[in-house]
Amino acid sequence: MNGAHDMGGMDGFGPVVAEKNEPVFHADWERRTFAMTVAMGFYGAWNIDMARHARERMEPGEYLRTSYYEHWLHGLETLLVEKGLVSAEELEARRAELAKKS
């Protein structure tokens, strides 16, 4: 399946800009998203190709607008819901609950 992720050779993205002394992660939510994704990979409900496909199925505009670990978060939530391990309602309810506390 093609998509926004298949960008090899595309023009218009501008120069490559490398960050000096870049940290491995830029925020704690990136750390947790990385670790949960790897841990759920070991859990074995899906393989690496399914994990990639879940990120690549993001709506193309959204894919281009969002950061790398947002793709991972989207992929992880998508697979968890599709495999019936977490429901979309549970996620929504927990977010609302935490938002009220913060």
């Binding site: 992720h5 490559v16 490398a18 949960m36 841990a39 859990y43 990639r52 927990r94 609950e97």
Partner: protein, 207 residues
């Protein structure tokens, strides 16, 4: 123009992401699907233990030991495993050698495939659109973005990684490094030189 006069979706702001990730983790922990202590170990491993210093050791040995280099170019996965650098996102490795005629560059146009055991997690630019788009079309332009200009007669080969196959560039050994120890040689090997967007450092040059 006010600070809020822009058209992006406010659900993208980091605080919302932090909340979304917290909600997800609390559910996964509650369901017994992940263990927070195991997550901490994973983070610490990739934040402090696995990184490009691993790859630099491999490159330095290849510079110092011709027999090792021959094995590395023939069977990278097995030879790198001699250091204990193996496992996730790097089981099947290929090492490509830079010479006076050929310069190699590694990309993953579709996502972010990268040899974790020898380089750690990839930097943001490696995973971002400009590099993924440009590396296969204009590798010399990419090198210029990194401040590197190679002679026109050098052929540039770009390797597009996959989930199954990951590449490591063996940079050229800098001149004037005869007699240096493996440890001193490893200090000259930069992460970017092993991706192919840079060259190894020359002794005494500024980092």
């Amino acid at each position: 123009m006010s600070a809020h006069d822009h058209d992006h979706d406010h659900s993208d702001v980091p605080s919302d992401l932090a909340l979304r990730v917290k909600a997800l983790e609390s559910l996964l922990v509650e369901k017994g699907l992940v263990d927070p202590a195991a997550l901490d170990i994973l983070i610490d491993t990739y934040e402090t233990k696995v990184g490009p210093r691993n790859g630099a050791k491999v490159v330095a040995r290849a510079w110092a030991d011709p027999a090792f280099k021959a094995r590395l170019l023939k069977d990278a996965s097995k030879t790198i495993a001699e250091f204990g650098f193996d496992g996730r996102q790097g089981k099947d490795m290929v090492v490509v050698e830079n010479t006076d005629e050929v310069h190699n560059m590694v990309v993953c146009t579709l996502c972010s495939c990268y040899p974790w055991p020898v380089l750690g997690l990839p930097p943001v630019w490696y995973k971002a659109s400009p590099y993924r788009a440009k590396a296969v079309r204009d590798p010399r332009g990419v090198l210029q973005d990194f401040g590197v200009t190679l002679p026109e007669e050098i052929e540039i080969r770009v390797w597009d990684s996959t989930a199954e196959l990951r590449y490591l560039v063996l940079p050229q050994r800098p001149k004037g490094t005869e007699g240096l120890s493996e440890e001193a040689l490893a200090d000259l090997v930069t992460r970017d030189s092993m991706i192919g967007t840079g060259l190894a450092k020359t002794p005494g040059a500024k980092p």
